[in-house]
């Protein structure tokens, strides 16, 4: 987090709103995310935190406001969102690996088809990243042959293969059996150590406390409180946050 980067946010969310029909899920949200930030978003279910995350790469179409990503307003219909998504890796709760392809193919499809890399180049990069998450031996397996934890680690690698500038995590450990949560969090922790910019929607308070640079509490479509993790968990100010923390901790 150099001073330089602090001045120019990677993602600027301005007055973001999202409605599903009559229901207003996000209400006038503004937040800046800087390079190297690890932002953990917590909050009760239905608070709008997943919707917020999915708006960041426009998997959900915002109803109003602006999102400037590296200076470009991606809410603008004229923006080629596909180009920008390549720079925003996304990891889903349900992994969403492509079941009809080998792991290697899952990892190289994007770089080869979208970034014009050669098969060889893409494979070398994929294998290097697989090595890092300890799954190099599964390159030729199919997703259904893997455990949930392995699948999620692969899903993270798939996003990383595109060399993104930010990684979005949508409750990455919620669908996992408890004994597999650790291996995924370890990979995420390593990413954070490498100064990857991350936005993580999660229920893992331990992870938020240890890894996050900023923790944000969302409820009812608003960010109600934001702080660095130590203060956030030790001295919550908002009443609803206090109530929430008393339930989950």
């Amino acid at each position: 987090m150099s001073i330089n980067n602090m001045e120019k946010p990677l993602i600027q969310v301005q007055n973001l709103g999202k409605k599903f029909g009559e229901m207003e899920v996000l209400k006038d949200i503004s937040v800046d995310i800087y390079k190297g930030d690890v932002v953990c978003v917590i909050g009760p279910s239905g608070s709008g935190k997943s919707t917020f995350l999915r708006c960041l790469n426009r998997l959900e179409e915002p109803s109003g406001g602006h999102i400037l990503f590296e200076g470009t307003d991606i809410v603008d219909k004229k923006t080629n969102i596909d180009k920008h998504r390549q720079k925003m890796g996304m990891v889903f709760q349900q992994f969403n690996l492509f079941p009809h392809m080998t792991i290697l193919k899952n990892l190289t499809l994007g770089p080869v088809k979208l970034q014009g890399k050669s098969e060889k180049e893409a494979r070398e990069q994929a294998l290097k990243l697989l090595q890092k998450v300890g799954l190099a031996d599964r390159a030729d397996s199919y997703p259904n042959q893997l455990s949930g934890g392995q699948k999620q680690r692969i899903a993270i690698v798939r996003a990383l293969c595109m060399n993104p500038d930010v990684m979005l995590f949508d409750e990455p450990t919620s669908a996992l059996d408890p004994e597999m949560v650790g291996e995924v969090l370890t990979v995420m922790r390593e990413l954070a150590d490498e100064k990857m910019t991350m936005v993580v929607v999660t229920h893992e308070m331990g992870f938020a406390r240890e890894v996050a640079t900023r923790v944000m509490f969302m409820d009812g479509g608003y960010f109600l409180e934001e702080n660095e993790p130590g203060e956030f968990f030790a001295n919550p100010k908002n009443d609803r946050l206090k109530l929430f923390l008393s339930k989950v901790l």
Binding site: R85, G89, F92, L97, P99, H100, Y142, N144, A159, M162
Partner: protein, 230 residues
């Protein structure tokens, strides 16, 4: 009894080279089925993509409407009526040949059913697959092509094969436009020899064998496709 059978066989297939009615008819049946299947797949694929695109994005409204009319009309009328309309009405002033007419009629008919099969195949793929593709930066068409279609196709192979078996058997009404297909070949022999047993049995056995061979082929294909998931 065997003598009677042998005599029947001789009368129905050997005299005047009557077996040729069957083989000529079989050729036409195969020709019609093969090309109708091709048209059916192309047309069905196109319609399914248009319909799914409309469902997902609400784009292509007009095309989707046209496809809806096409599906309603084709699936709401008997194929034999469509065939005769094609021959006696649509091609009433120009004759592209009966086999061609039949190929077009059966192809268009099959396309409607294939479209619905493909569409159900596409909608059976989890939304997450689509989102995963889009989140990597693939556009709508690329996501469909690289991620959704291969999975959808695998899911619908059995239903699709069944549709083609139905189509093969449905071509037996091609005789309505004066075309000599397998069934008509049997009919002609029957009209010459006045024995229904032998020609109809021969025709039935040939259809049956074709269907069984095809089913076998599909099983092999299915097994090969399944292998990639285990």
């Amino acid at each position: 009894m065997w003598e009677k059978l042998r005599d029947d066989f001789y009368q129905n297939f050997i005299v005047d080279d009557r077996w040729k009615y069957i083989t000529d008819g079989l050729q036409n049946t195969l020709k019609i089925t093969f090309f109708a299947v091709l048209i059916g797949i192309l047309l069905g694929f196109l319609v399914a993509v248009i319909r799914s695109t409309y469902e997902n994005t609400h784009k292509l409204k007009v095309l989707n409407w046209i496809c809806g009319v096409y599906l309603t009309v084709i699936r709401g009328t008997p194929v034999v009526v469509q065939l005769m309309i094609m021959y006696f009405v649509i091609f009433s002033f120009h004759d592209p040949g009966q086999v061609f007419t039949a190929v077009v009629a059966f192809g268009i008919n099959s396309g409607a059913y294939v479209a619905e099969i493909f569409r159900s195949g596409i909608s059976s793929i989890e939304k997450g697959q689509f989102e995963a593709g889009r989140s990597l930066g693939f556009n709508y068409a690329q996501t469909m092509w690289f991620i959704i279609m291969p999975q959808a196709f695998k899911n619908v192979v059995p239903t699709l094969a069944n549709e083609f078996i139905v189509l093969l058997k449905e071509t037996s009404v091609a005789g309505y436009i004066g075309l000599q297909d397998l069934t008509k070949g049997g009919d002609i022999i029957k009209s010459r020899t006045y024995s229904a047993f032998m020609p109809l049995l021969a025709v039935a056995v040939i259809y049956l064998v074709m269907v069984m061979l095809f089913s076998q082929l599909v099983k092999v294909l299915e097994r090969r496709l399944q292998r990639s998931e285990h």
